[in-house]
């Protein structure tokens, strides 16, 4: 080391004389000579080139000379270089021009030695070790730094860089080699002492800077060197070769360490046991846990990874480094999705063949995987890649894209395949769950992924989302078909609520829990519909009136329009079914029953009520009242006519036979009604009591007054007993039997 500095300082006078020697240590001379040779016709220039160079060469080196602790060490440091070097070194401190010749010889010797050394390095032996103590690495590093700083200053000042290979470089390489051998053989282990590790990284840094320097030199001076002759070219090349070998060894080691760190960190013992639980109980597991768990790298490991990545990137081994990173993370995620989240990859073909019951169970896992990915995994990945690769924006974006793109597409494929399965009413809700998952994932992903990745991811996610939405729309529209295809000709006994009504209303009530999503899906779909009307059938509209009505509603909400349409279809279907009853009164009861059921369901769900609106409900209630009225007229008007005083008296005299007929008629009629209508069904208690109350209010006062007014005309005793079978209280009791669905045998 010291000797190099000395030799360099001794090169100053040589330079001034422009003497050409083959000496390594005097290469700055060659450099300036090269220049002057190259520009032989511009001599003054060449001189001015040479001078400042020599000066600037000398200055920093002189500084390093004056370092107090440099000297004592230097003497011992010099020894491994051989005694021949050591002795003159001390003298060259005061070297004069006259000593130049001898020095030249020595330097030549030295050069040969160095060549040998290079050869040795190629064979990766460490022969020098037993013979002599190694110079301290810190010292060599200082010198290398100094050397590099000087070079950089020259580059910055746009001065030509001198070609010099100071002797401390081989020494340095030798030391690095020893270091890496220790690591390779396991004598030193990565992660044991931070000092060792950062020293290795420090060396790697110097190695790559030296490498860059010499390659740069070799490149920029290639032409001149050819003119200069083989020898120097070869010298530089040997230097480069030596450095490259060390560099490759260090990088190879760092790559392995990087890999080990990546692999170790992603297999923390915790995640396995914890993960299984999480897969079993998807909802109960708190999320904070997994935030700590994922991606599961200790800070120390990340710091290490970052340091290694930095050196590998700086040394041009960026590809190796990011490749290792990408593979490791991909496997971590692939395994993690399966082991931690329980997500099983299924082929699209397979999914089409699976039972819905089985498939249905996969959906919560899929949804959970998405949530986990967007809330924990992707942010975790992003953070990790940023912490490891720091400012290398290109690498960060590249890796992030590489890792997340495939995952996203694979997850989306599941969504696509579910949307492709055969449509069925019960699938609607799961499809909407999936739709919501994707809808909510998009804005989150937008904050996570850089724009150039997000473009494709967004298109793909949106497309899968639309597919799911479309399937949901079609399933919902299939309700129309299930109503239309319900064409049973057997009336429901007793005019009770039709199963179709129950099914549709309960389905709608459930569907309306997803009202906002359905609105959204319908809006999107009607847009697609309008844009691409070639293949899709528009919802057929029966007559022009409902057409214009539909169009009006469609502007507000296509979903509401569809819902209305379903209700209308249900109504008309029910009306058809009502006609199946022979008795008009019973069809009224049937319509009331169903109508009541529908209104109750709608009022019971705020969402559906909101869609259908108050007006609709009021209209419905009015209709119900009409049916009620019709029922009353149908059933009771005939029997009530018996109780009318009209036609009973002739010139103020009650006609007894007519009166008897009236009583007989009433009794028979009432008995008949009681017999049939107590078998009719009104299961809604309120409706039932409303009906009974209204019937009572209609019949009882009339009967009471009829009785009060005319019973006196009957002879008391047998005759009265025969014709006045019922007291008003009895009538009331019998009315309470109506619509019970049972045949009462009170009589």
């Amino acid at each position: 080391m010291e000797n190099n500095v000395n030799e360099n300082s001794s090169s100053v006078p040589q330079k001034e004389e422009n003497i050409n020697t083959g000496d390594t240590t005097q290469l700055p001379v060659l450099e300036s000579e090269d220049k002057s040779d190259a520009k032989s016709d511009a001599k003054p220039d060449a001189e001015s080139d040479a001078k400042p160079e020599a000066e600037s060469d000398a200055k920093p080196e002189a500084e390093s000379d004056t370092k107090p602790d440099a000297k004592p060490e230097a003497e011992s440091d010099a020894k491994p270089e051989g005694e021949a070097d050591g002795k003159p070194d001390g003298e060259t401190e005061k070297a004069t021009d006259s000593e130049r010749d001898t020095e030249k010889e020595e330097s030549k010797e030295e050069e040969e030695k160095e060549k040998e050394k290079n050869e040795e390095e190629k064979e990766e032996t460490v022969e020098a070790e037993p013979e002599s103590p190694i110079p301290s690495l810190e010292k060599v590093l200082d010198e290398i730094d100094q050397f590099l700083v000087t070079l950089q200053q020259k580059v910055d000042a746009k001065e030509s860089t001198p070609l010099e290979i100071p002797n401390f470089i081989p020494v340095f390489l030798h030391l690095v080699e020893q270091k890496i051998v220790k690591y390779d053989t396991g004598e030193t282990k990565w992660g044991e002492t931070i000092e060792d590790d950062s020293s290795l990284l420090g060396c790697a840094n110097r190695v790559s800077r030296l490498m860059n320097h010499f390659i740069e030199y070799s490149r920029s001076h290639a032409v001149e060197e050819q003119e200069e002759g083989e020898e120097k070219v070869v010298r530089i090349d040997f230097m480069v070769n030596g450095i490259s070998v060390i560099q490759q060894r260090v990088m190879s080691f760092l790559e392995d360490e990087f890999r080990t760190l990546m692999e170790e960190s992603r297999n923390p013992n915790k995640s396995d046991s914890k993960g299984k639980q999480q897969a079993d109980s998807l909802e109960s597991e708190p999320f904070e846990e997994s935030i700590l768990e994922f991606p599961g790298f200790a800070e120390e490991a990340i710091a290490n990874l970052n340091k290694i990545a930095k050196e590998m990137v700086a040394s041009g081994y960026e590809n190796e480094c990011s490749q290792v990173y990408a593979l490791s993370r991909r496997h971590a995620l692939e395994d993690g999705m399966n082991k931690i989240l329980g997500y099983e990859k299924l082929s699209i073909d397979e999914i089409q063949r699976m039972q819905w019951e089985t498939l249905e169970r996969e959906i919560p896992t899929w949804i959970n995987t998405w949530k986990e990915c967007t809330s924990v995994w992707f942010p975790g990945e992003r953070k990790l890649v940023e912490m490891v690769f720091g400012n290398e924006a290109d690498i960060v974006v590249g890796l992030m894209g590489n890792i997340s793109r495939s995952i996203v597409i694979q997850l989306l494929n599941f969504g696509e395949s579910i949307a492709m399965t055969k449509r069925a009413g019960e699938k609607l809700f799961k499809l909407l769950d999936m739709y919501e998952t994707l809808r909510d994932a998009i804005p989150i992903m937008e904050t996570l992924f850089p724009d150039d990745i997000m473009g494709e991811i967004k298109t793909e996610t949106t497309s899968a989302k639309c597919r799911l939405g479309e399937a949901a729309v079609l399933i919902f529209c299939d309700l129309e078909n299930s109503i239309k295809s319900e064409t049973g000709r057997t009336p429901v006994a007793g005019g009770a609520v039709h199963p179709l009504t129950r099914y549709i209303m309960n389905y709608l009530r459930l569907a309306c829990e997803y009202k906002d999503t359905l609105e959204e899906v319908f809006k999107e779909h009607s847009k697609i519909e309008r844009a691409d009307s070639t293949s899709r059938p528009r919802y057929e509209t029966d007559d022009s009136k409902s057409k214009s009505e539909n169009r009006h509603r469609e502007d507000e909400s296509p979903f509401a329009a569809q819902l209305m349409r379903v209700m209308e279809l249900l109504d008309s279907n029910l009306e058809g079914k009502a006609k199946l009853y022979k008795e008009v009164a019973l069809s009224c009861i049937f319509m009331m029953n169903n109508g009541r059921y529908i209104v109750q369901k709608i009022k019971g769900s705020a969402e559906i009520y909101e869609v259908m609106g108050e007006t609709w409900c009021r209209k419905r209630s009015t209709e119900l009242r009409t049916y009620h009225k019709n029922y009353q007229v149908e059933t009771w008007s005939k029997i009530l006519s018996c109780l009318s005083p009209k036609g009973l008296s002739d010139h103020g005299k009650v006609q007894k036979p007519v009166l008897k007929e009236r009583f007989k008629g009433f009794n028979a009629g009432f008995e008949e009604i009681h017999k049939t209508q107590s078998m009719w069904v009104v299961s809604d208690e309120q409706l039932q009591s409303e009906l009974r109350v209204s019937i009572s209010a209609l019949v009882i006062p009339a009967y009471r007054s009829f009785l009060g007014r005319f019973s006196q005309y009957l002879d008391p005793g047998r005759q009265t007993e025969k014709y006045v079978k019922y007291q008003p209280e009895d009538i009331e009791a019998y009315i309470d039997d109506l619509f019970d669905g049972n045949a009462h045998a009170r009589r």
Partner: protein, 389 residues
């Protein structure tokens, strides 16, 4: 998806308008026959062109090269659009519900579904190719350095052996992989034992037990050319579309790394007597020949760029093995030429793989969309023929 309708162009519009006119006049089926013949002719023409560039023009796209495969995908998309125009557009649903289509179409749509998985497998395979490309880039990067030293050569060699191992042993890779080794070219690694897991390490996997060759076979089943009267009806385009789709998928599975290709087979029946099938038969024979050559060795795929990459990698390995510093100029020059070629391939891959993946994805979306459209029509037809259950 608007993308699906873009390519259909005016030709399709014309067909459907014309057909509507024909229908409404209730005339003969002459017009329809003409459409069908035109469709067949177009299919034949498209594949003739694909075949001719591989034989006549050496400067053109080589068989199974990235640019050739991308053209193949383009043609597939065009044929599919035309197919839909012929079979679906403006047609009365009841025609589609009639025999033999009532049987053929569900089978056909099932093939559509099967091809979706193949699309995904191919996209993942292209990911694996990208990883090979990255390894090759390391080789290029290392060997481009001058002056070239032992360090660079060792660096290149490491990447090369990973590259070659990945290319040669892919087909043995299976999806078990519990104790797989995901390092490539790890120094301490004895290269033989875990090599099968390496390509698995290069890309994502499909579903467990999924097999590309099984999927192809499943697509082939029940695929027979329509005979007799059927051959002039709509059964013909349905058969053509199935065959074309299957051929394209088969070619891609052969070209890029895919999960489980054992028994992929080199031959599937194509109707020799039909004109449109001739160029397909020509291509099938060529690809099958290539496949047979490589099958025994175990190979990662017939993708032309990969094949060349493998050859270059082999000769660069030779160079690296015998490298001694200082290098001989002659060998160096030869190496440099190889590296230049390799760099050229990397560039092609860099430019072509990504768009190809997007095209595959487009095919995927198109198939999903078309299937949905067919289902809608079948649905309508079902309602018409059986109004009440």
């Amino acid at each position: 998806m608007p993308a699906t309708t873009e390519n259909q162009g005016s030709f399709l519009g014309r067909i459907s308008i014309r057909r509507n006119q024909v229908m409404s006049m209730d005339g003969t089926h002459d017009q329809e026959m003409e459409d069908l013949e035109l469709f067949q002719k177009h299919v034949g023409d498209r594949f003739s062109e694909l075949l001719s560039t591989t034989t006549e023009d050496s400067s053109g796209d080589a068989l199974l090269s990235i640019s050739w495969l991308r053209r193949l995908l383009d043609e597939l998309l065009c044929i599919e659009a035309e197919f839909k125009a012929v079979v679906l557009m403006g047609r009365d649903p009841s025609q589609i519900a009639k025999p033999p289509l009532d049987k053929l179409l569900p089978e056909f749509l099932d093939r559509f579904v099967k091809s979706l998985d193949l699309c995904n497998a191919v996209a993942l395979g292209l990911d694996a190719v990208k990883n090979l490309q990255r390894l090759a880039e390391i080789v290029v990067e290392a060997l481009e350095v001058t002056p070239l030293g032992d360090g660079q050569v060792r660096r290149a060699k490491k990447a090369l052996s990973a590259l070659i191992a990945a290319m040669l042993h892919e087909d043995n890779a299976n999806a078990k992989g519990t104790e797989r080794n995901r390092s490539f070219g790890r120094r301490t690694n004895n290269s033989g034992s875990n090599s099968k897991d390496r390509v698995r390490a290069l890309s994502w996997t499909m579903a467990r037990n999924w097999s590309a060759s099984k999927q192809i076979h499943a697509m082939m089943s029940n695929l027979t050319a329509p005979r007799g009267a059927e051959s002039s009806g709509l059964a013909q385009p349905v058969y053509i579309m199935s065959t074309v789709l299957m051929f394209v998928m088969w070619a891609f599975v052969a070209a890029v790394p895919c999960q489980e290709r054992n028994g992929l087979g080199t031959h599937f029946p194509l109707p020799r007597q039909l004109n449109w099938a001739q160029p397909l038969i020509g291509l099938q024979e060529k690809i099958a020949e290539e496949w047979k050559k490589k099958e025994k060795k175990g190979n990662v795929g017939l993708l032309e760029e990969m094949q060349r990459m493998e050859k270059l990698a082999q000769s660069l390995v030779e160079f690296a093995d015998s490298f001694q510093f200082p290098p001989e100029t002659e060998r160096l020059d030869e190496m440099k030429r190889n590296v230049e070629d390799l760099a050229e391939i990397c560039k092609k891959m860099d430019q072509g793989l990504e768009p190809m993946q997007q095209q595959i994805r487009e095919v995927f979306h198109r198939i999903v969309r078309s299937r949905a459209e067919f289902l809608v029509v079948l649905d309508q037809a079902g309602k018409l023929s059986a109004p009440a259950v």
